[in-house]
Symmetry: D2
Subunit: 375 residues, 4 copies
């Protein structure tokens, strides 16, 4: 209720501060019998973790996750899964000067107003460091969705600041430090980031995520639509300021004849809807885009006030990502996995016995596993 839990049936509850001893999470509601080891979760944690290239924060955290409960002899038992990652590379002295001043664009001022007390070291609870636990918990969801339902989730960087990145080669996504699906763009992205880093400024980004193989019927009508819960999940990621499903803001200027995805016995003829109709999955790919703001943790001084209400300047030292969007891809994937997992369980709770006899249609023509650009 105080915002540290996500999901209704597959529930993730996180804790931990950027400069505290550890981050942790409890994952409750996981079905029993899922093969699971720590190594299974480490892959995505490594994709997210800092210090992987010169373009992200230089904080060195191995982000080794321990499973403390809920797994017995290599498989889940249905009991809550306790996860723990110890912080090892805190440098809290970096933050002492912002103890009494509010960095503009940060949560410093709002946390102070909300709680009256604030762990200012590295942003405390408001640090994006907490997203490590999202990735760990999301890894369990991803794994179950793949094993039980054949659902595959993939994200990529679709724009870095002013540079749009086309979806040309999904196999390239994990081969460059940007999660960019267009390898030909990578040199330009590196150049841009090097210049940005030198300038001391930061920049925004856009990330796309997609889930394929989602069966029709997931999502609840009215308030807990699949897309509403996805919007919730995505907007809860640090720095996200916009969420789109399917054509997103592009629908404003569309006509109904253009937008509605017609159906044939072979499948849907397009996917403007992003795989959700009336809040419920249609069997088409679920497609989501998010906008991430430029981090406010920059070396360039800004005007602000201190806890005494005086005008002061502030410079963020510490170690930060000049573009938080770069590391956001595995986080967005994890959040989409958590939503889908939760709705898989919610759906079968109410509708376990439903058998419509109607096939699950997907898009036609059949497209490559990672080729959303054609729709």
């Amino acid at each position: 209720m105080s915002g540290n839990s996500f999901g209704k049936l597959f529930v993730v509850t996180g804790f931990g501060e950027s400069h505290g001893p550890a981050l942790g999470a409890v994952v409750d509601g996981c079905p029993p019998g899922l093969p699971l080891t720590e190594a299974d979760l480490q892959h995505d944690l490594d994709r997210r973790r800092p210090g992987q290239s010169r373009h992200t924060t230089q904080r060195r955290e191995p982000d080794r996750v321990r499973i403390l409960s809920g797994v017995f002899e290599g498989q889940t038992t249905g009991a809550p899964i306790g996860l723990l990652i110890e912080n090892v590379d805190q440098r809290s002295k970096d933050y002492s000067e912002i103890m009494d001043r509010f960095r503009p664009g940060h949560a410093d001022y709002t946390y102070h107003q909300k709680y009256g007390v604030r762990d200012y070291r590295g942003g405390g609870r408001s640090s994006a460091r907490e997203t490590a636990m999202r990735v760990a918990a999301g890894g369990i969801a991803k794994r179950y969705l793949r094993h039980r339902y054949g659902v595959e989730i993939r994200g990529w960087l679709s724009q870095l600041g002013p540079i749009p990145i086309e979806f040309r080669d999904p196999s390239a996504i994990d081969s460059n430090p940007f999660f960019a699906p267009d390898p030909a763009r990578v040199p330009e992205l590196e150049e841009y980031m090097d210049a940005l880093r030198k300038s001391g400024d930061s920049v925004g980004a856009r990330v796309d995520v997609e889930a394929r193989g989602v069966p029709p019927g997931w999502g609840e009508p009215i308030f807990d639509r699949l897309d509403a819960d996805i919007a919730h999940a995505m907007m809860s990621i640090n720095a996200v300021k916009g969420v789109e499903i399917g054509d997103g803001f592009g629908v404003v200027a569309q006509r109904g004849t253009e937008h509605r995805d017609e159906m044939t016995p072979e499948g849907f003829l397009s996917n403007h809807s992003g795989g959700v109709l009336g809040g419920i999955s249609s069997g088409q790919a679920v497609r989501v885009s998010i906008a991430l703001k430029p981090t406010s943790s920059i070396r360039l001084p800004g005007r602000t006030v201190n806890t005494s209400g005086e005008a002061v300047e502030v410079v963020t030292r510490g170690r930060h990502d000049p573009c938080v969007g770069i590391r956001a891809t595995p986080i967005a994937e994890a959040m989409l996995a958590l939503v889908l997992m939760d709705h898989a369980l919610r759906h079968r709770a109410q509708n376990a016995d439903v058998d419509t006899g109607i096939p699950a249609y997907a898009e036609v023509p059949a497209r490559g596993a990672m080729d959303p650009g054609e729709s």
Copy 2:
């Protein structure tokens, strides 16, 4: 849990189908002592209800709300508030031909796959008619927020299909059938809609909503950020495909120096954040934009399949809005009110005793009550 409730402490639970006997809602958690009559809720219901102009559906529903409980001698008692609106103008025969075929772009197919059984009359539970109860329930929230905290919520149409609408005159919003804040644009909008209606097609729209006077400190960190819950609320409205907070997707190409809202002892110097920092309200105006798709209920035939899996054509007869975005303004206001109300209560549950001694900063220079365009 099945999606018909919204909120954690100020909880709205709705029921009712488009062509059933009535729509209803239970509002639980309202603080006692709020003066409340049915007339107080009718104003917004009238703003939303169909048939107000030739540009919306011609279904004639008075949408008279009855308060069945929770109010005694003119004020709320703290008990749940039962609300009921009877349906009076159903014409279910209009829908018999779509009983066994799935209208493209509608929830027909997904509801069928989810539940195996479907009330096809007017879309049943998936009809936008349910939004009447959102507006009624949101009216209670709006009222409490204004009485207790001085919060004012206003929405407007900012784009109709290809026509952008500037924010020029807030006093005009309720004086035209589009909720357009630019009276000079109204003739163009009317002409556009007349042509659209004749064509049998539909179009999308963009709606903006704003809350002024929100105190700093509302919202929960991590998963239940104020903006995450707003995104959830907005994306749960029928036809919404995108949500932005503050600069929204505009942040992708922004620099950190540009985006971060600097503070002075007089207040914030800009409002790129949309009034939320780290998921918690900052005292700036909370600003939200949503994209609504063109309704798929159009007279132009489309390809689809029927319940036997055969290729068929379908035409939506019935009475429909050629642009659902037109009536969306009071709905978006209601959803923003519900989120803020819920977080007002959540905040004081945990932090009732917090007194920071720090003033609540708003934007400077002081702007007119409805002048968001300057930020």
Copy 3:
């Protein structure tokens, strides 16, 4: 969250006051495809409703329930089921004298302290009249449990004031106004109640409820044990002051060798546990007992204070049950049904795919459908 909802997946949300226009409830989460009519719910409502004999309150309420949504062509659709019962026999003038004084043993004082404002007519929201909606909602759960899982739920009066009632003839339960399973006791019960009514006093009662055919595996470990949720449900009924599962307080003086229910390939050899082990159903009958206090609504004057803090006397006029336990049997059945229904859905959400290959053991020797006395 304000206490008017029950359940996590099969969720009942009620509203309405004793002397308001109507009582209502929304039942969300019911699986689709269940045959359901208003008549199906009326049977239990008639068992509970007042004025059925001279031993209960003489308020005349037909308690006719209307289904406003969620049912289409005779079966549930998965959409929320709106239920409404109109109040017809309010006599609010009976209550004007208790407007400013707190009846001892009632909720008058505590509601006043909680909310500052109070609907004093007939107890307002605190009246046991709200239990009509529990019975209506519980009727849906009972029906689903029987259709889908073969679960049968039955309750009876096991003690009236000082008179214990043995479980001799379950077929007699619905043939006397007390739900007493021993027809030979009925004349004594009638005589006792006639004398009690004349005295102007009231008395307590004990009610037993049992569910047979519950499959093993329902209930969640740790906090949401099946028995914990049953205790919650039962203690939430007006006037209940104690709850027992299985042998209840009898276990205090038992030895482990006596209490543990041994198992054989033919089944459990006893049922001291009341059908729950480690919070999870065992396949044995689920057995519950509750203690109901004597109503405080009596004609004999009592000392109290008024809203000005002065010492006053108060007499409850109105129309009341001299033993609220008499009408409690269908209410207790309904609450047990709601808990089991909720856990049936919760169980299959997480464990839909579990197949242990182990049979479900019940008690042996096989007993008559309503013969719990032997265990």
Copy 4:
């Protein structure tokens, strides 16, 4: 949702198995500014922990709790509080022989049926060892309730098997290994336990808990009554089979004139209700009793079946409490604290602004801080 969380606003989520590496809990929703150290929680953990006398299990666990988050510079920050206790004295080999057979009276069979897979070492998740985290989390609640509201919570053993224990000297409670409030009874209790231990059998117990200083107004009407949530909390403790509020099952034979607690300007004249009227605290002491069954972990062989469905005998080796009720007192206190804490926050969320001007009455004559026997 899978049963490992308790509370709605002050939420405890636990994890960990008896023989896993650690037990943990996340406490979310704690108000900021509460002074808190690990030592503050250790006191109650030490009261609960095993091996304190020869009358409890001889497993040696220091039960040292670490606070991993949510506390900064000695006070709570409003962020979730991560708690961890490492298991140090597991002897899992003790359990290998029960790997494939279901101990009667245990959760072995029901967990197996629910999940299909089972961590059999020491009962896994079903072990009472998880109650350590309840005590740790409850310690935070106790502390806040005392600091902010002056609420004091105390429990004691009121019956051990056949031996009733009168409430004679509250100061003696923590001075004997039984939490017995009658020091004169202690030798008899020790003798009884020594004989019991020799016999290899186990016995039940009764524990009473009381909260003094609870303000009037806590608790929600209808389903989430304070007493309903208390019943839920208590019945969720391992081995509990019965819960009473106030006079409990004693009310069955009471008259209304006897039961109703009359009020005078000086206060309530009695406390039959146990401090709750209409589900809401009255200002009287909140009084609760629970019945704990004899543990089924005994050395005497019992009949059962194995996972192949064959008849077998089983003996529980391992190390166990011959009377789990002895260590239940701090657990029951913790659960009462969690319920009260949750309702304190829930109450102020909705009713923060209520000011009735009516004093909070308590019982008269004023009694000693720990003298419930007089009411």
